[in-house]
């Protein structure tokens, strides 16, 4: 009797937390869509802000869309190039001392938890020191730093799951550590890399604090890495901060664009991950 009660109680608990999770997600999406969709005109997507845009006049947020895409894709690519080798090198094959690997993981976890404004402040200080102005490049680099701990740790967790027997099988054929790592281990890790990209992309495209001073903001589309770049989170922030309801609505439209980009990237990286996981041992 007691056990049945337990079972029922847990069922209620599960259902209510699931409802809360799905409900709040739904609420966020609903608010963004309901407020944003009416303002999402073609000109929003195809034009840069014209004079008086922030007062409710003509223009769009193409500068922020392009800027965000440059910033996010550029930094994801750079961060991947750094994180894949770094995560693979945390294997016991390379770092024999478990204490060293443990400390590296701990520091990465601390970095993961560090607020992005700290990265922004750090990047800003370095750029001031170097005499650089806010630019696309500065933004990409700071976003890369922001992503590295996320990517390394997310990939690292899947590298840890690679069966020891698999590595043994590979080494038994006379392979080097490099061959075992980059021809065998990497196959098992590919879906993990897809997840890591997703987590890192989400954090970088949605972040405003780290790029406020490093990428800057501009009404133009950046023409080179050294030009400042606009971004969707900051576009939302600025538009929502105006006293004009029609401009505030455009903020929601911008949020909707951001939401769609994240959705597309999620679906795409999942699909890629699935595609590559055909041969994986489970």
């Amino acid at each position: 009797m007691d056990r049945l009660l337990e079972e029922r109680l847990f069922k209620v608990l599960m259902l209510s937390s699931l409802t809360m999770v799905v409900g709040s997600l739904f609420a966020v999406v609903a608010v963004v869509v309901l407020n944003g969709a009416p303002a999402l005109t073609p000109s929003m997507l195809t034009q840069t802000p014209k004079g008086g845009y922030y007062l409710g006049k003509e223009g769009g947020i193409l500068n922020a869309i392009i800027g965000s895409i440059y910033l996010a894709f550029g930094s994801v690519l750079l961060a991947l190039l750094i994180s894949i080798p770094a995560a693979l090198s945390l294997q016991r094959d390379y770092i024999k001392k478990t204490k060293v690997a443990y400390s590296i993981r701990l520091s990465l976890d601390v970095l993961w938890g560090t607020p992005s404004i700290v990265y922004g402040a750090f990047g800003f200080t370095v750029m001031l020191y170097l005499g650089m102005r806010a630019s696309l490049l500065g933004g990409i680099i700071v976003l890369t730093l922001l992503q590295i701990p996320i990517m390394i740790r997310a990939i690292d967790e899947t590298v840890k799951l690679v069966p020891a027997e698999l590595k043994e099988t590979s080494y038994a054929l006379g392979t080097t550590r490099f061959e075992t790592t980059f021809k065998i281990v990497i196959i098992q890790v590919l879906p993990g890399i897809a997840t890591a990209v997703l987590l890192a992309f989400g954090r970088s495209i949605g972040d405003a604090a780290s790029i406020l001073f490093t990428a800057g903001y501009t009404d133009n589309i950046p023409g080179s890495l050294l030009d400042p770049a606009a971004s969707l989170p900051l576009a939302i922030f600025f538009q929502l901060g105006t006293p004009f309801p029609e401009v505030q609505q455009r903020a929601y439209a911008s949020a909707l664009v951001l939401l769609v980009i994240v959705l597309v990237v999620s679906v795409a990286s999942r699909a890629l991950g699935q595609r590559f996981s055909k041969h994986i041992l489970r």
Partner: protein
């Protein structure tokens, strides 16, 4: 065929001495069975022969393993060619996360075997197995005309040698992990042979197999012993009696007795071996 001599081999995991001063010769061109109760150090001894043991954490090895007179633990020894020369078959087969075809082609590709060398390897293989048709004439002809024909031929030959060809010839591109455990173990045998080893170490290779697959593997070993030195850890005395020429009895990390299989397994000198064989200790 190489001659293996083990001299004063001591292996410990941390403070746990697992092998205590093992000195024994392993005859070439025969099947040597290592028997003993579980936990006595059979796997450890086997993996010490091609230094796979070094993949374990906190392992310490002392003493010598001489293969054709060269100590494999010499700091200058080439560990990659050692592992190529001394193949390993694990207790539970572990397919590489790739197709059946690539599981066989992986080793030769890693060692840079291609074109003419492949054909030479096949010829050598045929000389070894005169009464076992590993390379039918029609396949040989297609090898000349097709792109990658040599590698296709090599894959076919080794799959035939392992008695797997007829079962997988129509699905070579399928993930190897989809095969049954018995098929995976024969695939593992083919993969091990594909890098032209001279010694085959097998760690209870039939313990996870059904009786039919187990019998197939045993038959393979009896055929292969003409050309390879085989060291077989086995958990069943019956298997040792069926196929072993030579036997080594280990007990608590010490070598108690060794000699021709007929003697050690049927009329041992040592009291402990008698006790093990009669089932008193296990």
């Amino acid at each position: 065929m190489p001659h293996i001599s083990i001299r004063n081999l001591k292996v410990s995991y941390g403070a746990h001495n697992v092998l205590k001063d093992i000195t024994v010769d392993i005859p070439d061109g025969q099947i040597t069975a290592i028997i003993g109760p579980s936990g006595c150090g059979k796997t450890t001894l086997l993996k010490s022969l091609n230094r796979l043991i070094e993949l374990q954490e906190e392992v310490k090895v002392n003493g010598k393993v001489l293969i054709d007179g060269d100590n494999v633990y010499d700091p200058q020894a080439d560990i990659l060619s050692l592992r190529k020369k001394v193949g390993f078959l694990s207790q539970k087969p572990c397919p590489l996360p790739m197709s059946i075809y690539d599981n066989i082609a992986f080793g030769p590709r890693i060692h840079g075997v291609k074109g003419k060398q492949i054909l030479e390897q096949i010829e050598e293989l045929e000389k070894h197995c005169p009464n076992n048709e590993v390379c039918p004439a029609n396949t040989r002809n297609t090898a000349r005309t097709h792109k990658n024909g040599e590698m296709d031929l090599l894959v076919e030959c080794y799959l035939r040698l392992a008695g797997l060809w007829d079962e997988v010839k129509d699905r070579l591109r399928m993930p190897a992990s989809k095969l049954s455990v018995g098929q995976q173990q024969r695939l593992a045998l083919a993969r091990t042979l594909s890098v032209k080893p001279e010694v085959i170490l097998a760690d209870e290779p039939t313990s996870s197999l059904d009786p039919v697959s187990a019998r197939l593997i045993e038959e393979q070993f009896q055929m292969l012993k003409q050309n390879y030195t085989i060291v077989l850890v086995t958990h069943t005395l019956r298997q040792a009696r069926r196929i072993a020429d030579h036997a080594i009895f280990l007990y608590l990390g010490e070598m108690i007795e060794q000699g021709p299989a007929s003697k050690v397994l049927c009329a041992p000198c040592e009291a402990k071996t008698c006790a093990y064989i009669s089932g008193e200790i296990s």
